[in-house]
Symmetry: C2
Subunit: 355 residues, 2 copies
């Protein structure tokens, strides 16, 4: 009497008490292990038994309990992903790349975001995730200005993208240097005396790289390096700085650290009646979908975010399975310089800006 039937769901959480392997076994009149064998493609089960088990499973709507399976096997089939502001173009496309690559490998992705890209926040997020069930961890654009050591669970494979953590962890990054160089050189080749820069926020590692490379390229060409303007990646910041850029007739070429700021800038120049590219050339970065359809179509540096995502997954899984330390620690994904119509040969700006 005491062992008969299933106990009422008194103790465990308010969970969905789904059918377990034992229920199926009872209904099919077999041992639990047989059900397990059927559920897993299985080795040697007679067709008759298999059939009986199968219909019992269907009848009860049985789905294997992943927690139990993970507990038993020690692996979860999931990769953790920490991102910041994931609705932004680069982020969301990288996330998409990660998710697609993970799916191809039979993994799902556990996503958490951080409110601010500080070291503490990322640590907290990683901890939150490691309390979750994950086999590896990907951190996208951890724009920590203070690269304190992240307190991560030991033995958890970690791969980061474009961040100041590159030195401490395996990493995937875009070839920002080549992209930036191509962009700046393109403008110089067009005859512009120098190239101004609308940079990203100071705490962003990619922004720093683009800024540095821009500076170096100008220096290498023996040009004067003007003071850069500091934006925050948003369209609005590009738009607002546009007023200052319009007011300075020295500026004939601007390399923007991303396409959004370039778009905001172009809009502002429109309003100030400055013709792009006749009076002022603009280059962006990222190649967001709308870049090609702006007016004029934006010359920019294309990043292959999908590939970055795929590489991130590949590296995590490599570490997961191999365990070897002889693995590549840093993969660089090439960028492509795309010339459209927002750049043109140098001509001095003559017209006074309209206020």
């Amino acid at each position: 009497m005491s062992t008969e039937g299933r106990a009422a769901p008194t103790s465990p959480g308010p969970s969905t008490s789904r059918a377990s392997i034992a229920d199926v076994a009872r209904l099919a009149g077999v041992a639990p292990i047989t059900v397990s064998r059927v559920a897993n493609g299985a080795e040697s089960v007679s067709p008759a038994t298999r059939q009986r088990v199968q219909s019992a499973m269907d009848k009860l709507g049985y789905a294997p309990n992943h927690a139990a399976r993970a507990l038993r096997s020690g692996s979860f089939g999931a990769i953790g992903l920490v991102a910041h502001r994931l609705a932004r173009t680069g982020e969301s496309r990288t996330v998409e790349g990660v998710v697609e690559a993970a799916r191809a490998e039979g993994y799902t992705v556990s996503l958490v975001d951080v409110v601010a890209p500080t070291s503490d926040e990322v640590t907290a997020a990683a901890r939150r995730l490691s309390h979750q069930a994950i086999d590896g961890l990907i951190i996208i654009r951890a724009e920590t200005s203070t690269p304190a050591t992240l307190a991560l669970p030991p033995r958890l494979p970690v791969v980061v993208s474009d961040s100041s953590l590159i030195r401490r962890h395996a990493a995937v990054s875009s070839d920002q240097v080549s992209g930036t160089r191509a962009a700046v050189q393109h403008l110089l080749d067009l005859g512009h005396p120098t190239v101004h820069h609308l940079s990203g926020p100071a705490d962003s590692s990619p922004a720093q790289v683009r800024l540095e490379t821009w500076r170096e390229t100008l220096r290498a060409a023996g040009r004067t390096v003007p003071e850069p303007w500091r934006g925050d990646w948003t369209l609005q910041s590009g738009y607002e700085l546009g007023a200052r850029i319009a007011a300075d007739p020295q500026v004939t070429a601007v390399f923007c650290a991303n396409d959004e700021m370039a778009a905001g800038l172009m809009r502002s120049l429109h309003e100030h009646d400055i013709a792009v590219p006749q009076e002022l050339s603009i280059v962006g970065f990222d190649d967001i979908p709308v870049a090609e359809y702006l007016w004029p179509p934006l010359t920019t540096v294309r990043q292959d975010f999908g590939r970055i995502g795929a590489e991130l997954v590949r590296m995590v899984l490599e570490r997961l399975r191999g365990g070897d330390d002889a693995l590549a620690r840093h993969v660089v994904v090439p960028t492509t310089f795309v010339i459209r119509a927002s750049t043109a040969g140098y001509t001095p700006r003559t017209r006074a800006p309209r206020s």
Copy 2:
């Protein structure tokens, strides 16, 4: 001799054999349950013991095994999320909303995408997820044209967004009807004899709603209903259809089913030398960040994707905890009509299009 020490990690997967609660207990000289108590904020543990356990945990880098915890408690602390083409604006912003809301509730999000928004694909994705450890499921924009029943695990709370599955599952959707009506009415109020429509793909439920509402609004106003153009949400499709729209001098007002297509269209009209809004008024849908910075700034219907994401999470958790069936089955999130500069009063188009 046989029972002493831990067995070499022969049997279970190649997993990271992290320290277990037993290891910590041994090191601290206490029982496992005490470690458990310390790990969980705990009730009654003496400061001395707590301290000892804490340092043992730190020393071993202990992190609780979530699989075991989930197995015991029956809940996973994770919400499954199925999305399609998640790098698109609406999708990525909704995902961001979901992730933020989930974090606030202490949940993480398990993300999978589907290659195509078919019923089969979504079912497969959901199954893949339910093999994962999730407590509830959110399906974003399942644009199934054939709303066959999804074969989902029983008792798994499911909430969908903007899809043809609305009838079968709890749902959150934008108030597309009001938004569309406001957009079309705005153009009619400006004196345009009728309003053309650049619609989304036929298999998209939101596209259908916008199309239907546009049609009804025109009918209610007693206007002729022109044949709609069919796009596929992309900038490119808007751009390509732009040639035809430019060629038809009857067209003076176009309601586009999303901002991307509107942007593509505007670019095309630029090239055909048709002035927006003087000769042709355009309204978009979504209010993507760049909409405000296009030239001219785009009049559009703003969707509150963040709120949609938050509502999705709220409804899933409600179902998860309450279990009551007396819960709201359908939440509508308001849209906002944002008037900018891409619409103007009606004037007949006189100039012949260029080419």
